[in-house]
């Protein structure tokens, strides 16, 4: 059974530990602007919403890539950017209907969540269990994926 990130915004306090952990793991520095998971703030409602890639089956980013630089990780099911192959064309950043592949001008390449190879550091860092790593079927991601279905370019099939 593959696992996925389950995000429960109701539990998020906006402490940004997940962003810090992500940035440290992937970029080697504490810099929330480099994080692949983002916590969005709804000021009026006083709510926080952590948000990152759902590793969706459709994988628009992967199919749009002209140089095969996004591949499926056989162990975790995540869609990983192979930095050596990425030319930085950014087509994946507009193809992903969730907006979860982003361009990093410093490296000239794109970055996205790769579940840290199966040990997601955002999960480890979250003090309130707002982000957990659980069996894929059990997650609220289903809803998000349903929405992804609406973004398909085909009907039927």
């Amino acid at each position: 059974m593959q696992k996925s990130l389950n995000i429960d915004p109701a539990k998020c306090t906006g402490c940004l530990q997940c962003e810090m952990a992500c940035s440290l793991e992937n970029e080697g520095i504490f810099n929330t602007s480099k994080s692949r998971i983002k916590v969005f703030t709804f000021h009026e409602e006083g709510k926080f919403v952590p948000y990152t890639c759902t590793q969706c089956d459709e994988a628009w980013c992967m199919h749009a890539c002209p140089v095969d630089a996004i591949v499926v990780n056989a162990a975790t099911g995540s869609k990983d950017v192979v930095a050596d192959l990425c030319v930085g064309c950014k087509v994946c950043t507009i193809a992903c209907p969730f907006g979860t592949v982003n361009y990093n001008a410093d490296s000239g390449k794109v970055v996205k969540c790769d579940l840290c190879g199966g040990d997601p550091q955002c999960v480890a860092a979250c003090p309130t269990d707002a982000i957990t790593y659980v069996d894929a079927n059990a997650t609220g991601l289903d809803k998000m994926r349903q929405w992804a279905g609406k973004t398909d370019t085909t009907v039927g099939g």
């Binding site: 995000i7 915004p9 109701a10 983002k38 969005f40 709804f42 409602e45 709510k47 919403v49 948000y51 628009w60 199919h63 749009a64 002209p66 140089v67 095969d68 192959l85 030319v87 930085g88 064309c89 950014k90 087509v91 950043t93 507009i94 193809a95 992903c96 209907p97 969730f98 907006g99 979860t100 592949v101 982003n102 361009y103 001008a105 000239g108 609220g140 809803k143 998000m144 929405w147 609406k150 973004t151 398909d152 370019t153 085909t154 009907v155 039927g156 099939g157």
Partner: protein, 419 residues
């Protein structure tokens, strides 16, 4: 079943993979006219800047990929199709039979009617062969004239500037990327390029190209100016490679005409990619989009219908582009120019070269264009393609379009609980 795919760009390659996935026993042939392994034109700009070598442009990196997929790759040009007998003929005189055929022959650059355009030293930037010539001539300090500042022109612009040539850009229309950006944002790109030392002439034509002794080319402009260049690059537009299809009796218009299953006027022949006049998601009309994501999506739908019969309808692609001009990233989606009776909102920050325009029909996002935004831009596509109703968020966006990510989370991610 015998499937033949003509054209080994992204559309052709993705189609062969999908055909194999759905029909493990079929006989699949991929025919392409260029000598290299199947490659991606889109990667050429990065070859020009040495970010990758030629193999970095290959669509599939494993040498054995096509063998693994049991796809027979043939390097020949298809010259005609006999639609009565389901056969096609290649340059070398070989005749091949097909049960189902996919035409994915892409497009070729158009030759602008400029005297001297056929002089040595004038090149397109469309194939790897073109790119090799450009690399030879675009040395640091060389004088280069780029004709055309459309989408492809602007992509090459960045590569040439990074090669440290003295670059002059000539564009007939009044702004850069006229089919992707409006007056405001198109001219913001121009001012950005000028600040970076690129000489940009909009509303200007190249009237003639004259060979000088010593190998230089003199380009005379409609403004009366002339520029002596070591290299002239023509990027004034492309047209579908469909002559052989038309001669074979297939119905053509801007591109090869297809129905909602990407089937051409011949029941056994399908089309995909830059050659195909497929449905546009926003307008519902049929148009050649000539972009990579559309080519790939066409290929998947066409191949699926070729194998399974018409169970997968093509609902159309959102036209979309992303461009990096010397560090300024721009993107456009769908009806970025707006729709009759629709609403629009715009944020302009000329000093920081930031721009965002949103176009609505009712409370649904139907188009957008941006400058200087690199984070989460994909949600613009997501909102357009899902036709998500924005409700009260539309008014908030009308006041501040930069809240698009909040609007997206609130409206499309129901578990977020802030709708």
């Amino acid at each position: 079943m015998i499937y033949v795919v003509v054209g080994s760009g992204p559309a052709g390659v993705v189609a062969t993979e999908q055909l194999r996935k759905l029909d493990p026993l079929a006989n699949i042939t991929l025919i392409g006219a260029e000598p290299e392994p199947p490659y991606s034109r889109m990667a050429i700009p990065y070859y020009l800047t040495s970010k990758i070598d030629e193999s970095g442009t290959y669509l599939r990196k494993q040498a054995s990929h096509f063998e693994n997929y049991k796809v027979d790759v043939v390097r020949q040009r298809v010259t005609s199709i006999d639609t009565e007998l389901n056969r096609l003929i290649t340059d070398d005189g070989q005749v091949r039979r097909y049960d189902k055929l996919l035409i994915a022959t892409g497009a070729s650059p158009v030759v602008p009617p400029v005297p001297g355009i056929d002089s040595p030293g004038v090149h397109n930037c469309w194939t790897l062969a073109d790119a090799r010539e450009i690399v030879k001539l675009a040395k640091p300090g060389a004088s280069v004239v780029l004709m055309g500042a459309g989408f492809i022109g602007c992509i090459i612009l960045e590569s040439l500037a990074l090669r440290e040539v003295n670059l002059t850009v000539v564009e007939m229309e009044n702004r850069m990327v006229p089919r992707m950006m409006n007056d405001v944002s198109g001219n913001m790109i121009k001012s950005w390029c000028e600040q970076k030392g690129v000489d940009v002439h909009t509303s200007t034509r190249a009237d003639s190209i004259e060979q000088l002794s010593g190998g230089k080319l003199r380009v005379s402009l409609s403004t009366g100016q002339s520029i002596d260049a070591d290299l002239v690059i023509s990027a004034t537009g492309v047209a579908p490679n469909m002559d052989f299809a038309a001669d074979s009796g297939l119905q053509i218009d801007q591109g090869i005409v297809v129905n909602d299953y990407l089937q051409t006027s011949d029941a056994d022949i399908y089309a995909a990619g830059d050659v195909c006049q497929g449905k546009d998601f926003n307008t519902g009309e049929y148009a050649v989009q000539a972009i990579q994501p559309t080519a790939v999506e066409h290929a998947k739908v066409a191949a699926t219908n070729m194998v399974r019969g018409h169970r997968t309808e093509h609902v159309g692609n959102v036209n979309m582009n992303v461009l990096d001009t010397l560090g300024l990233v721009s993107a456009s989606f769908g009806m970025w120019m707006g729709v009759p009776g629709g609403d629009s909102t715009e944020l302009v920050n000329e000093d920081e070269h930031k721009y965002l325009s949103l176009q609505f029909q009712d409370d649904i996002l139907v188009g957008a264009s941006s400058l200087g935004l690199t984070q989460h831009v994909g949600v613009l596509r997501g909102l357009i393609q899902s036709k998500t109703r924005l409700g009260a968020w539309k008014e908030k966006l009308m006041k501040d379009p930069m809240r698009i990510m909040e609007a997206y989370l609130a409206c499309s991610q129901s578990q977020v609980g802030v709708a």
